[in-house]
Symmetry: D2
Subunit: 388 residues, 4 copies
Amino acid sequence: MRTLKVAMIGGGFMGKAHSLAYAGMPMFFWPAPAIPVRQTVVDINDALAKEAADRYGFANYSSDWRRVIEDPEIDIIDIVTPNNTHAEIAIAAAQAGKHIISEKPLARTTEEAKQMLEAVNKAGVKHMVAFNYRRTPAVTLAKKYIEEGAIGNILNFRGTYLQDWSADPNSPLSWRFRKDIAGSGTLGDIATHVIDFARYLVGEITEVMGTSNTWIKERPVQSGGADKLGAVKAAGDVQKQTVDVDDEISTLVRFENGAVGSIEATRNAWGRNNFLTFEIHGDKGSLSFNYERRDELQVCFSNDPDDRRGFRTIYTGPAHPNGGALWPIPALGIGYGETKIIEAHDFIASIVDDTEVSPNFYDGYRISVISDAILESAASGKWVRTGV
Amino acid sequence: MRTLKVAMIGGGFMGKAHSLAYAGMPMFFWPAPAIPVRQTVVDINDALAKEAADRYGFANYSSDWRRVIEDPEIDIIDIVTPNNTHAEIAIAAAQAGKHIISEKPLARTTEEAKQMLEAVNKAGVKHMVAFNYRRTPAVTLAKKYIEEGAIGNILNFRGTYLQDWSADPNSPLSWRFRKDIAGSGTLGDIATHVIDFARYLVGEITEVMGTSNTWIKERPVQSGGADKLGAVKAAGDVQKQTVDVDDEISTLVRFENGAVGSIEATRNAWGRNNFLTFEIHGDKGSLSFNYERRDELQVCFSNDPDDRRGFRTIYTGPAHPNGGALWPIPALGIGYGETKIIEAHDFIASIVDDTEVSPNFYDGYRISVISDAILESAASGKWVRTGV
Amino acid sequence: MRTLKVAMIGGGFMGKAHSLAYAGMPMFFWPAPAIPVRQTVVDINDALAKEAADRYGFANYSSDWRRVIEDPEIDIIDIVTPNNTHAEIAIAAAQAGKHIISEKPLARTTEEAKQMLEAVNKAGVKHMVAFNYRRTPAVTLAKKYIEEGAIGNILNFRGTYLQDWSADPNSPLSWRFRKDIAGSGTLGDIATHVIDFARYLVGEITEVMGTSNTWIKERPVQSGGADKLGAVKAAGDVQKQTVDVDDEISTLVRFENGAVGSIEATRNAWGRNNFLTFEIHGDKGSLSFNYERRDELQVCFSNDPDDRRGFRTIYTGPAHPNGGALWPIPALGIGYGETKIIEAHDFIASIVDDTEVSPNFYDGYRISVISDAILESAASGKWVRTGV
Amino acid sequence: MRTLKVAMIGGGFMGKAHSLAYAGMPMFFWPAPAIPVRQTVVDINDALAKEAADRYGFANYSSDWRRVIEDPEIDIIDIVTPNNTHAEIAIAAAQAGKHIISEKPLARTTEEAKQMLEAVNKAGVKHMVAFNYRRTPAVTLAKKYIEEGAIGNILNFRGTYLQDWSADPNSPLSWRFRKDIAGSGTLGDIATHVIDFARYLVGEITEVMGTSNTWIKERPVQSGGADKLGAVKAAGDVQKQTVDVDDEISTLVRFENGAVGSIEATRNAWGRNNFLTFEIHGDKGSLSFNYERRDELQVCFSNDPDDRRGFRTIYTGPAHPNGGALWPIPALGIGYGETKIIEAHDFIASIVDDTEVSPNFYDGYRISVISDAILESAASGKWVRTGV
């Protein structure tokens, strides 16, 4: 059976998720298009890299990502590092002829994203951005219903991504709060998932009108470099540093097909953990989804009889997209891992079959353009077109 | 025991709700500040008015509202007619020295609302606008938590009002779809309830930036004059007429206290019936409410221990605002009737105690100003200030 | 228009609910079969009775229920007193030729219930027991679906009624905790509503096997006679008295049609307020209901396509039973009041039309037989047949 | 780093789950107590076994489980075969000195279970039964709350496990419907998970009183041997065979500590997919859990202030049991895989640390005893003690 050798650059929590995906992919999708081999993992020093190899089941390790990219054995470069490194690694990997999957957001800036897109296009390699949430089976089912026309023409999209892990002003200023590393705050980190949903389910966004807020103006400097999200909180007399990215984004959007919508994302929503939702109204029905209850899709069909119409709670399973590959009954339990396993499958299948996969670097670039437009509109108070 | 004699102008579904409120108010609030007496009901002809009197338990009836307003026996004028008549009736009632409660929206236009406000101020009578939903016990409880500081400073308000009774293009063009009668569409009819929530719970709205859409461009002419909402649908080869009001409103808002927010309202949301919701994020907690499950308020307190923090589902009852007056245990069942009973009580108490009640004509006027600003921003594509 | 004059015996919280029902019934059901007139209210002394008349809108009052029953003007006797008085009043009312509606449970004992049933049968008057919850529109809709065969043959019924108002050992020993007055505890007070659901929706119960527990063995003696449920709690060094009724009932049941089921009721379920639920599995579908979210019925149809099958959340409204009489759109808000308004309507319609209404004294008697069988099985540890 | 070599006997869907667990365990729990090595997989013939090795990442394969058990390299035997083979394999594995994890139920009969327990006790090896659902983080959190006394003394346990994958009479008669292979039907397959919850969270069950039903008396013979659950349905004129196991179990239970409860399990609940729930009432609070929404635990604390008391929705995450090993924020997504990863960890840790793990073969034996008692009580109509 064909194998594809993966070098994973980065060993944080995303490394865990991606490693699980490579291990689990052929277990779920069988016969697999190809077996991904965890060949080499890279971290910032040899000790960390060795530990990552042991932990995540990689055959080799290295602290020199440039050398790994040059390794002729490697087929796929998987980028799970902070945002400020995506462009450099991806462009080098493309030049070395490797297929590339990058964590989201694709880059800190649209300029970086554009260069990355040009590099992969020039190299003719496969490329993907890891907006994994759209691969939640319930989201894929929503896409299927829409394509079948089951909810008719889409009028309205309402998406949110609400979290609270940084709502506490004492949660540390990790790299996710630094513009030089992350590019933006909530916008790039989580709002982009909603933008990905919107483009995937409704279509291209042509115009935006947003607001942006930084509710917590300064945060304690993080001790230690790890990406612990909100788990570690500072206490006592700690040094604080100014936050130069957004905590919250709220925007109106217009779609190419005439639909309208709104997108809101915040990390200051006490009680909301991973509240990634959408509600879509079509002229023949509605869809509603909340990732916190991700086994479920809510759908209402207008052509149900008047006395039997209402949202149906569909638990995804064998009767739905990718159902044969997943668990044998609905609600056995889709977790974060499964979304990453499907993502890994679809990327590898695109390499084997030489087809396009989505979301790819073009999508990542477009999401960057839209993100910039949101910030521009927030600054100017005016609608901003996204150049489509 | 003191009594206050009510003349109710209009006999549609709102007449039913108000009549039940007058009958039920002293049963719930006892001792009552005063007993409201259903004295006279007015409808467009004597036959309809007599039927309304029989049905709603009024002592007298009339088809001449002007004469009823002049009746020295009458203490309160209750306006439950379509929007185009509110101003004329209310101004005449004020000039006659009557206390006035008017259904919402207060008027078709800000100019009308302003005249009404001036009239009641000049007359020194009590005045109220029947935005009853804020009197849902769970909403009043949200207000109490906010006033106690339980969720801290408010950062964000997200409100929606989603319905589907006119999502079918064959649902008839009742007066609610005619600008000359209603003033606006979804905006005045239901978005105003969300605006009322926003002002009640967060504070004055200073600036808006909205969109407005009319999804169904024409509708069948309604046969019969009754306000049946979506219940009666046209079939076959019927005459259609252009809709000149909005089906949907979506707007970003800014509040005087620095909070931001969004408000969306539509009557084209298949599967949503009376989906009047808000979610509020403060720096110390969050609130979430959905009128479709109106016995419940969701609240999260940030100062709960890390391993015990989450939204609490509070069922309102004796331990909460107006609890002593309502049912003896939570979830026995708050319905539309109860919101109107509390409203009737608070209005009558304001008359007896000579205090201000809210929302009053000033609130109705402000909501009209904000509504106009939303339409203006939708037309201009620019943020519009609301003059505060 | 025909009127029917009501004498209501008792003025507690149930008196409030019934009074609202009489006032509101013609407002909702129009043309009304007859207008109920609140003629006379009876309480234990003249002062209380006068206050009840003022509060609940009755024309007269009395402290002598026997005289009121003899009053030839009175058509209907409405019994809203504690359980120990139901039999005596009802039998006297039947002998006086009055139609009778009694609060539930019908009586303290099966023997009392049997005598009451014989009395109304002999007198040929109409009779009803106020198990109002089955008149929640969503429950009536469940009945309709079942009658249409939409869920096929019923296999299983699971019903619960969970409350917490007496979970605190300091909540007072009101009459509801005294066997001499109430007959039983949770069983008669709330489990009987579930038994009523079971018989209404599935059919006659032939056999039971239950357990019974009294978790809180003694409670503070209540100061004051009012029925305050859990609202008033004792503090400090109070006198306590032994509880001689059940706090909790759990039982397996078998139905005449071959279905099986379980019924559980407790007042010691912290966090459950009025958690009256059922779930029914048929061979072609399922139903699920929770009164705490009473505007909704959940229904699943097996013949939906595999990829679109799931529970539908139906919000009851104009398209459903009694929809024309209630509010013009779903989720406008069904409360406790509406269930009582429908109950009043159906009772009065049965008088005017000379038809049987259900649940009547026969149903009340059967529920008493079943309740006794549950207690007997709890004592003996053996299945007990209910004599059908 | 220490490794433990696993031989997995069986390659169906459970093989997938266990293989993912071994691969993922050190990724989540790091440093791992030991790294599990997927050494050998066994299936019924070499071709299937080879395919399983390729798919699930095992180094070797075999069709001779007896030889594999004798392999001195192997540390752990993992039994994921149908129930009728558990005893023979486990006893042989114990005699060969291997640590054993077996899928549930432990055996077809109590006699088999007893022999297995004796074998592992005699051999002094570690043993576990794979009731994985209790390792859902929300269930572990429930256990923690109970142990902390946060809900006080437990009064009541109500557990259900409702599915619908075999509600269709055309779903095939797989081995799960054959007494000779499965031992029992719904009882052994899913009710045992609820019994495991009950014993884990509340304590030993001393007495049961149940009913048992087989709703679908015959089913189509399955073509092909695979365990496809309900996914494949027969059509047309197929051969049918009698079902000799239960479709549904409903039982009352009594616990050693005085609590009571009920357990219901069925595979005929249309619309319920994996509806594994419990609700527990203590004298100081309540817990509620539904695996279909497994990231959440509902908890109510009686000592919350009256106006702030209600069920809290806790999303499990870093602040809760195993939180450090799982995902960095709550609701990122616990799936079936994570429950198995935790299970694998705890089993391997028990080997390394030489401690007892639970549920082990003693628990499996007790659950078998209780299951037998349920069937006996269903047959006799009498309470049956479980010998504790």
